[in-house]
């Protein structure tokens, strides 16, 4: 079975570490030991491993519908605090009763279906106050433009028929670029969130971060906290100092970290963090280009400066 090769997905690794930061901010709202983490962790349970490393006090549940993947999860399970469940997310959410227990959900989809928005809405209506929900969606505009047997108009129409209920305007054409498409998906999630938690319920979905990136496939990911509307300021305060926070539905922040060797990273390390114009500064420190032009090199090094704390080292290891 084909699963993404994790060592080839540096941007996803950054996103995963950003989640660790977001969870750390939750400490401003409640004891982390009160939370349970639910994930669609895939065969390697990479996020489970990471979260256990940082937050051993959080209980964890992995949901997996395929028997074969579940077997691999059993092999990779990083700690005894994780419960591996064979379950379909939709059925799980339908039966889920939080009993006022706080949760952190990562709906880590690899595709893009209207059912994903339905799951998201169903979950928002159920989770306890101060719970966190992170949803990850495929953001490949090419899916709607590269179908050889259909023209552009038909593809756009297919998109509108599929997602009409959550589109900001009924005649929306899917944008072609990653950031544009990811921004549209974020707007669709905002509409879904307002549908699930209208103001009359007293609850709301407060966004805390959103990113888009591509490790070969375009991805958009949004994280937020479910809170009472009158406690919105408290939630915002808890995340206000986080440099990656997006508290006002601004367009998703692009993660596009450069591929650097360990030697290059060590060379740059002593100059980080550096203030404005980090790209220029780091190019001077490095002394050579990593892209085909100085401008592109500076842009990528700016990305490195922004995310270097989240950038994992991928090393060859002897098992």
């Amino acid at each position: 079975m084909s699963q993404p090769a994790y060592h080839l997905r540096p941007n996803k690794a950054v996103d995963r570490l950003a989640l660790v930061d977001a969870i750390r901010c939750l400490e401003g709202l409640a004891e982390l030991a009160e939370y349970t983490y639910y994930t669609l962790g895939g065969p390697y349970l990479e996020d489970v491993r990471l979260l256990y490393e940082f937050f051993p006090q959080i209980g964890m549940v992995s949901l997996e519908r395929e028997e074969a993947v579940l077997e691999r999860q059993k092999f990779h399970v990083p700690c005894s605090r994780v419960e591996l469940k064979r379950a379909d997310l939709k059925s799980f959410v339908a039966r889920y009763d939080p009993k006022d227990m706080k949760s952190i959900f990562w709906l880590d989809y690899t595709g893009l279906e209207y059912g994903n928005f339905e799951d998201f809405m169903a979950l928002l209506a159920k989770v306890a106050e101060n719970s966190m929900v992170k949803v990850t969606l495929r953001a490949e505009a090419g899916d709607y433009f590269d179908k050889p047997d259909e023209d552009v108009g038909q593809n756009a129409e297919r998109f509108r028929r599929q997602f009409g209920a959550v589109l900001p305007t009924p005649t929306t054409d899917p944008p072609r670029g990653l950031v544009g498409f990811a921004t549209l998906l974020q707007e669709m999630l905002q509409i879904a969130a307002q549908n699930a938690l209208p103001s009359a319920t007293g609850l709301m979905f407060q966004p805390v971060s959103s990113f888009c990136y591509s490790d070969g496939t375009g991805i958009m990911t949004l994280t937020g906290v479910i809170c009472h509307r009158e406690k919105r300021a408290t939630v915002r305060k808890a995340f206000a100092k986080w440099d990656l926070a997006n508290l006002d539905w601004k367009p998703p922040r692009r993660i596009d970290v450069p591929v650097l060797s360990t030697r290059e990273r060590l060379q740059l390390q002593g100059s980080l963090p550096c203030g404005s114009g980090a790209g220029k500064t780091l190019r001077a420190v490095l002394g050579h280009l990593i892209e085909d032009s100085p401008k592109k090199t500076e842009k990528r090094l700016q990305q490195y400066a922004d995310f270097h704390r989240y950038f994992p080292y991928f090393m060859k290891a002897i098992p």
Partner: protein, 469 residues
Amino acid sequence: MSKTATTQYGPVNASPVKSFFVSMLTRDIKLEEAILDLLDNCVDGVLRSKRQHSDGKPYRGFFAEIDFRKDSFSISDNCGGIPWNLHDYAFRMGRSEDRPRDAPGTVGVYGIGMKRAVFKMGAHCLISTHNGQNQYEVEIKPEWMTNETDWMIPVRVAKKSMKTPGTTIYVASLHPGIAARFSEDSKVFKSDLERMVATHYAFIIDKGFEVKINGGSVKPRPTKLIFSDQKGGMKPFVFQSRTRDGVDVFLTVGFTRPIPTEEELANEQEETRYSSIDAGWTVVCNDRAVLYCDRSELTGWGEAGVPRYHTQFIAITGIVEFKCEDASKLPTTTTKRGIDASSTLYLQVKNKMRESMRMFVDYTNKWKGRASEAKRHIEGARALPFEELKQAAGKLPLKPTTKTVPEGKQYRPDLPLPKKTESTKRRISFTKGADEVRCVAEHLFKDRNADPSAVGERCFDIFLREAQK
């Protein structure tokens, strides 16, 4: 009854109370529909202004701008304003019998739309209008709304001069629920309102009218039907009539897309694939869609031999248009966003709707499981919006129908039937676990997401070759 009863019976007071209009009647209508009522008034203004273009875009140059925010709502237009001779109708609750005759084609009938929309949203309202030589404004204050005895509303010369003839309605002191929808729920509210305008006003926007919501222009989302110019190609059913009452009826039903494959049907049962379905009936009265893609008994689904709507019929769409200079003859409800299901005219036309729908239901049933074969019936065909469809229908050989009421002319397409192959072919259908299907798909096609029917068919072909050795 006891003869000793001493109760003195006198006349009872049956006069209306203001709260009935201000806070009861408003419950019968959704906020979005109330706003569409205000748009209807704008369009009626265009019809009164007699400045329409005659190039197929009669509303070109006319606009309505809707603006909503946390503490206010406004709608401004350049559609001619409210004539002073209609002020009694415009501001009075309900329509008086002696009101002046309105312009042909306007849809205001009951005299409640604008007031109900204002009361629905807030307690303070300023209506400014410029029509001809008249520029006046009417202010409805919160005290007026709660005063049961004072029914008079003062009118004064407009404080601000309006350059072009038109009307602005400004509502403040919003009710808390409305203010929340305009602020905290604004994203979803704007999306819902825009969808309703794009669908219910598709015909009018297509004819040149412009609607802006918070600065953004709304594009129409018209219903389209497949129409093939080729001989034997897919065409819709068409019925045209003019009733004795002077109502023009145009009915058409056909396909919007290819009929669904077995795979699509199975997937839809498992998970919602399409959140927005264009199937069903759209009913249009004087250019306004009063029903959009309805799939209930109201439009004939699930009654008199027509099956209940099911995803299998996702490709079937119909449009009925009623047109009349006297809007009271149209089969609409007071909200103008619904059909008066007991209207004789509508019941007669509904018979035609069911009759025509059965043809396409039958076609869908006959070709079920052969969607790829059926696709060739629409190859090269165009998807035409309503106005173009009406023009194309003019070239069809319409035949008179005298046995049905209302009488009219109709075109019944000759929908292709599959060749009788039952004696030589058999259908195989079975269900297997998703994991197992993915496993076999990977084995056969190196693609875990391969079409399950293709997986089943390949398995059969492999074993057929084995068996034939």
